[in-house]
Structures are given as C-alpha cells and as structure tokens.
Amino acid sequence: MMARLARAEMPRLRQMLFVAGAVAALEAVNRLTGVSGSLLVAEIIIMMVFASSLNLLMSFGHMVSFGHAAYFGLGSYGFALAITRFDVPAEAALVFGPLLAGIGGLVFGALCVRLTEIYFAMLTLACAQITYTVLFQWYDFTGGDTGLTGFMTPRFGLSEANFASAAMVLALVCLYVLWRVVHSPLGLAIRSVGQDRYRAEALGLSPRRVQLVAFVISAFFAGVAGTLFAVFHGNAFPDYAGLGFTLDALIMVVLGGLNSFLGGVWGALVYTLLKNFVPLMTAHWELILGLILLAIVLVMPHGLAGGVKRLAGMLGWGALR
C-alpha cells in the first residue's frame, strides 16, 4: 500500500513534458529574437524565481509579505559586497547573495512570525524598509543611493543569449527544489499551518518554527533571484530592496494565481512581458497596465495558473497543475 502511495508524489510524465516544452519555447525565443529578446528572457526567468519564492509563503504558508524585495536586495548586495568589500572572487561571491538573504530571512523572520495576518504583513514591510534605509544611507559600505557599480563585467562577460540559458538552468534547479519542498513533509507542515495554525498545533507542529523555516527558504530563493539580477546588470542598487520590487512580486503572485505552484511562474512571465511592451505602445502605460491587470484578475479569479488549468481541463489535458 505504501509504495503505491509514495509514487503519487513523483512528477508525472505529462508535467515533465510540459516543463520541457516551456524550456524549449523560452530557449527558442532566446536564440531567435536577438539581444533584446535574450535580455527579456533573462529578466523573465529571474522574476520567475523571485515570484516563486514569494509564492511559497503566500500560496502555501498563507503568509502575505509586504517586504519580499528586502531579500531580493540582500541577495544582490551579498554578492556585490563580497566582491567590492571583501575581495572575494566573483564566481565564489555568488554564494554570498543567497546566504545573506537567508540570514536576513532568519533574523527578520524570527521577528515577523511572532505575529499573524495583517500584523505579520506590516512587520515584513517594516523590516524591508529598514533594509532599504540601511542600503540607501550607509555610504561607506553599501555605496548609499549610488549603489555598487563597475565591480564586474555584467553577466561575467557571457553573451546575452548564453546568460539567459545559464539563468534558465539555475532557475529550473531552484523551481525543482521549491517543488520538492512543497511536496515534502515540511511542505505539508507549511500548508497545514497556513490553513489552520491551531489545528496544526493540535497535531504537534510548532507553527512559529514551521513558518520561520518557510520564511528562510523563501528569503534564500529571493536571494538567488537578487544575485542573478546583480550578475545580469553588473550592479546593485538600494531600489532592488525597495517597495517597487516588493509590489512587482506581489502582483506577479496574485496575477499568476494563489494556491498554485506555477502561479509565480505564470505571473512573472505575463507581468514582465506587459511591463516591457505596454510602455512601447503608449505614454499612459501605467494606466493601461492597471486596466489589463484588473481585467485578468476579474476574468480569472484563480489567476493565470487557474485559467490555464481550466483551459487544459477543457482540452482534456489535465496535466498543468
């Protein structure tokens, strides 16, 4: 009986085919649309990792963070500071981004999980503002509002297309790890605490500890995205930890669809495309973007992932969960 039960948790063939198809499509766009296409693909991929890290908290832990960019920014700065202030070789510095973000997640998370719901959200916002302010004002160390620039050749000198491909491989690894987390006993603990912390506690789980672990994992992967972003542009600015990036991530997750693993992926894809193309068409792009987002949310209450799932169901595929 148990062997049969365990098999259900392995990725199914159709899901793997879907992932392979998506990778092939992105890689085709990356290779066939020139430099601007590759830059766009790289940005989409980085945002997919960032949004998916927030999605772990929101969709599965039911923890709404209003300060997720803090960990994205710490990722960028962990990487950039290791090179500029501690003379770590750039390749080795890559680990310091996610590491600093994870440590930030541990410190701020320990504080935030003491509260729940809106109070939790406000604390995450406060922690992010603290991070932003420190990055913005500590001129001697972080470079203040001018950020850190010129410490490396952007993308380690890789061509735009090769960087996008490399980012894609890394993103696949990150998404796979996140997928495994969600489907592990820890993921179940995160989901059960998210749905009903009192019930989960009555079953022997410590809600705060579970939430803290989720918070650190989420911060770590936001840090991976932030590090990639710093490599992509060859710089780090306080804005990376600012409200703008936090809002982008929130919009991506909600747009993509809560309660779905692929919510962050779909949201990052569509939102990044809209953000890049709508401004080319009109000067009032923010208004148009807002209207498009409103329309999507109204038409697809379960987000893009929910919409895709429904469409797949109508077509009889039923694999795109």
């Binding site: 009986m1 148990m2 039960l5 259900a8 006993p185 179940l188 603990a189 989901r191 059960s192 749905q195 009903d196 009192y198 019930r199 989960a200 506690e201 009555a202 079953l203 022997g204 789980l205 410590s206 809600p207 309660n259």
Partner: protein
C-alpha cells in the same frame, strides 16, 4: 494520568471555567456532559492550553504540569485533541491530512497509516479525495484518525457526535470502543450521555464552568434528578 484541580480559565477578560475537578486514569473512557455553553469545550482547551488562559488551579498529565506549555508541546507528550469543529485541512487530500502529524510522532503505541485505515476503511477508499468535500461524518473520522497519528495515550474528543446522522454517530461510537480496546484513554464531551453510554466508564457533569457531579455510568442512571437539574433544557 490526567488530573485537573480547581481549574479556573478565561478568554481575555471573560471567565469560562470556575472550578473544574476531574481525572482520567489509563485506559478509561470518561464522559464530560453538560448543556451547551457550560464549559465543556473550554475544559478541553484548558487541558491543551489552546486559545484559553488557565488563571488558577492545576492541570497535570502523567505528573507533569501542563499550564504554560504550548499546545504542540502537550500534544507531543501524548495528549491527542479532536476539537468540536473537527476542522480538517480543507484543501489537502485525506492522505495529506493524515501525513501532517506523522512527522511528529512521539508516543508509545506507534500508529501507522495502515493502522488508521484498518480502523476507518472509508478513509483508505477516499484517500485521494479533497478533505473539504467529504461529509461531516467522514471529516470526523479523518479528524480522529489524524489525532491518532500523534500517538496519544489520552485522546480528547470534543462533542464527536455533534451534527452527525445517527448511523454515522454509531460508527464513531464503534471507533471509540475499538480505541478503548487498544488501551487509549479518552475524555469525551457530549450534551447527553446516551450516545456513548456503551463505552463510558465514568461521568462528570459540568454546569456554569464547574464540575457539579461525578460518578459511574450506573450511578448516573440511578440518579435521574441529575439529568433533570443539569441537562434538561429549562
């Protein structure tokens, strides 16, 4: 194994319990009865320290004090708790619901998934179903099964028959009898005794936050005035 002595407890400022005394010995099924709102649920909550503050008195389990511990710490010591609203994790499957506690087992008898499926065969049949769409009775079975996977030596069941059809309620009684045979001690709250008279050993009557009577099931039936005074709707 469980002992409550003169327990007073309150939610914020409002006092819910004003002197609860009770005990449960190993392997025993004890019934807590009383009208709606007299403090049965609060008593259960005071035992596992769930959303209520014990302001006076002592709650002990196997000679260690429970007041001040977190609910999960109490559960890990071997007290299973199936609350009144039998909240299952709605969007998780039956199997996932059952796996939530399995990572945290601590007790003497190690319950496995196969064990609870043997006790509640329907759960195996519905294992892939989303818990939220199951009937009330099925959710109650799931809620009990899930608590068993914390390996409790004492199980608290808060009004397990509430809102269940008589036939389903009978299945729950069957499960209680089987668990009793397994040696699991239980504290069961009910609005009336008749639903579980077949398996209860002793009875406590609660009124206005206090235990007002206790005795065996036979003694309870020998004193119809108790029912009249504390349990009839006035």
């Amino acid at each position: 194994m469980l002992r409550l002595e003169n327990v007073h407890a309150s939610y914020d400022k409002s006092e819910a319990l004003r002197g609860i005394d009770l005990s449960v010995t190993p392997g025993e099924v004890v019934c807590l009865i009383g009208r709606n709102g007299v403090g049965k649920t609060s008593t259960m909550r005071a035992i596992v320290q769930d959303q209520i503050t014990v302001t006076q008195g002592r709650v002990s389990f196997e000679d260690s004090d429970l007041v001040g511990l977190r609910p999960y710490q109490i559960v890990r010591r071997g007290v299973g708790y199936v609350p009144e609203d039998r909240r299952v994790f709605q969007s998780l499957s039956v199997l996932e619901n059952l796996r939530v506690p399995s990572a945290k087992a601590a007790g003497r008898r190690q319950w496995s998934l196969d064990d609870v499926f043997a006790l509640f065969p329907q759960l195996y049949e519905y294992r892939r179903r989303t818990a939220g769409v199951m009937s009330g009775g099925e959710q109650q079975m799931l809620s009990i099964a899930r608590s068993l996977l914390t390996n409790p030596r004492l199980l608290l069941l808060d009004e397990p028959h509430e809102g269940l059809a008589p036939k389903v309620a009978e299945e729950v009684v069957g499960a209680i009898i089987e668990l009793k045979a397994e040696g699991v001690a239980m504290l069961v709250s009910e609005q009336a005794l008749h639903t579980i008279r077949r398996c209860a050993d002793r009875v406590y009557v609660v009124d206005r936050g206090q235990t007002v009577w206790d005795g065996t099931v036979e003694e309870f039936y020998a004193h119809p005035e108790i029912t009249e005074k504390y349990l009839m709707v006035q």
